[in-house]
Symmetry: C2
Subunit: 391 residues, 2 copies
Amino acid sequence: MKKFSVPGFRFSASRAGIKQNHQSDLALIVADRPAKAAAVFTTNRLKAAPVLQGQKVIRGGRLQAVVVNSGNANAATGPRGLRDALATAKAAAQSLGISQNLVLVSSTGKIGVPLPIAKLTQTIPQAVAALSVSGMNDAAKAIMTTDAFPKIHAVKGKIGGRAFTVAGFAKGAGMIEPHMATMLAYILTDLDLPAAAMRKSFKSAVEHSFNSISVDGDTSTNDTALLLASGASGIPPLQPGTTAWKVFEKALNEVCQRLAWMMVQDGEGATKVVEIHVTGAKSAASAKKIAYAVARSSLVKTSFFGEDPNWGRVFAAVGYSGETFDPSSVDIFYGPVALVKNGLPRPVSQERKAHKIMKNKSFPVMIDLKQGRGQAQVWTSDLGYAYVKIT
Amino acid sequence: MKKFSVPGFRFSASRAGIKQNHQSDLALIVADRPAKAAAVFTTNRLKAAPVLQGQKVIRGGRLQAVVVNSGNANAATGPRGLRDALATAKAAAQSLGISQNLVLVSSTGKIGVPLPIAKLTQTIPQAVAALSVSGMNDAAKAIMTTDAFPKIHAVKGKIGGRAFTVAGFAKGAGMIEPHMATMLAYILTDLDLPAAAMRKSFKSAVEHSFNSISVDGDTSTNDTALLLASGASGIPPLQPGTTAWKVFEKALNEVCQRLAWMMVQDGEGATKVVEIHVTGAKSAASAKKIAYAVARSSLVKTSFFGEDPNWGRVFAAVGYSGETFDPSSVDIFYGPVALVKNGLPRPVSQERKAHKIMKNKSFPVMIDLKQGRGQAQVWTSDLGYAYVKIT
């Protein structure tokens, strides 16, 4: 596998002994200098201790280190959990000789089990010692729980003739044994970005990537997406609204969407990634709600697995989305094949064509409501035999 | 099987040739005289033609006949579907010599396929000729699609020393091949009920039965629940607010809940029925939203199948329900076994006890939020291997 790197950042992966399979379970990301930081956390009311702690430190807008442990979520662990998250940050800060307000902690794994905090803090010095500019791939492996493969993607480009990088790694939101799923994503760039505009662009990028996927419809206690900007490219600070800013946003969106896509692809039991594309809705929010109703329907997802062009299930899911629309205006396409036009089915020959489209590993389902200009895309996986066996 | 009957009603089951397996697919319910009628229809925006037609005829508050066909849902069939639903009502009205405004039509089965209307109308005279007071069991079979068993339940009681009956039959809302699920329920009583109060009691009974189950989370295009009161018991008209009315409501609730329970039990691949009981919520609506979030979670349902007391999945589903609550106030019980108290896990020995509870065919999961007096119960099934194989 190609080694990824981003100027201004070093990485490491260590074994703290939290995972029982002796695999690496402690990832460290360290910036050479405090980096600009923006984060999006889970909306679940049950927030894990590191998320509660992370919401505080991110207010400063700058971070220099991120400590991620897999194998234990430090969720539903009460006041002790908060103390443990703080102790982890403190240990990293001490080893690195920086303020603990510059350290963000993430955890993923079992819920309701206290963190083996001594194992973690004892391993941090060796994690610091192992930091390397080419350690991102190993870090991507260290944050995995039951992910089938590490998720990592980079975009390189030029602004004003000088090279920049946006790269990221993530773990999936799929069905995770034995306790919970967590979506974690760390995006790194060597650009220099003003904090407020960077937050805004990241929020939008997350909305159209990690917040536009449906694997099992559940939202975890630990979900965290983080963007760090080191400025190490030497490119002068970017200003929002400029062409250069658009180049950055394009790269950021590509990295987030590619990582999100890999999460869907890694949905346990998934054999296909399907893009549910709703157009002509009354608003973007309405389109997203409809797309999610379709993307989350077990009936729809099993029909994708069976390569059965069962537009009735898609149509009915649109119908129970809670959004208002005129059923006699609805068109439904599988790829380029129209199965429903103005609310009425097309000839059976179209279903045979759609069945062929569904044999692909990935295809779009387009639902046009013709009610307005709102549109949204949600990526979902199929629901196959392996689903229940794994979970 | 015991033969059910309700004074004032006759039933029949016939073969119209809509189902391809040569089983009965046409059920008829006829009252000796126009009966008081109340109905609850699907909230899906994509309503089948018979539902659109039924919403009109129910306004009169009186019905004398119900025609139900299985094998074809007459949904997404446009203006032709509406004409076919009307033609079905007309054929029944002519055969019975009654007004077509006293006939309700229901359909269940494939979506997007025109009704073979000639087969249906030609069979209606023989369906009328076959009417019998003891035909309810056969009618219950005729409305089945992929239901594993017919669903029928009766309660007999006395008011003022005179016997009355509330009985009903239904078909399930589970995963239905090859196209869509439909929930149909017909409840019949020989009591004499004032229309407005009857509507109110039925709406409440449906809310706490058919609208409190989650099999796959989908809402169909054809869902219909109907209550007919013949008054044939000879008991004087009941008045709401009296003890007699409460006796009626109790019987009505039992019949609806028993039929709803059987629907969950018949959820394809289901091996267990689990009652999700939320208490201490800010309102009944909030409790129901939380109960549904838990009941619909694939992660939770697969843990029920695996008899794994995975309270973390339950807690996380409460967390993403969208309702506000204090995680540090939450208790979670599996049967009588406390797994979470004040947001924190109990010792692992409790999980072993809960595992034993989960070996039962049915058990309750209680979530106490301690935020208010709102409560709700939702029944759900587990999600096992058979689920994907069948669908």
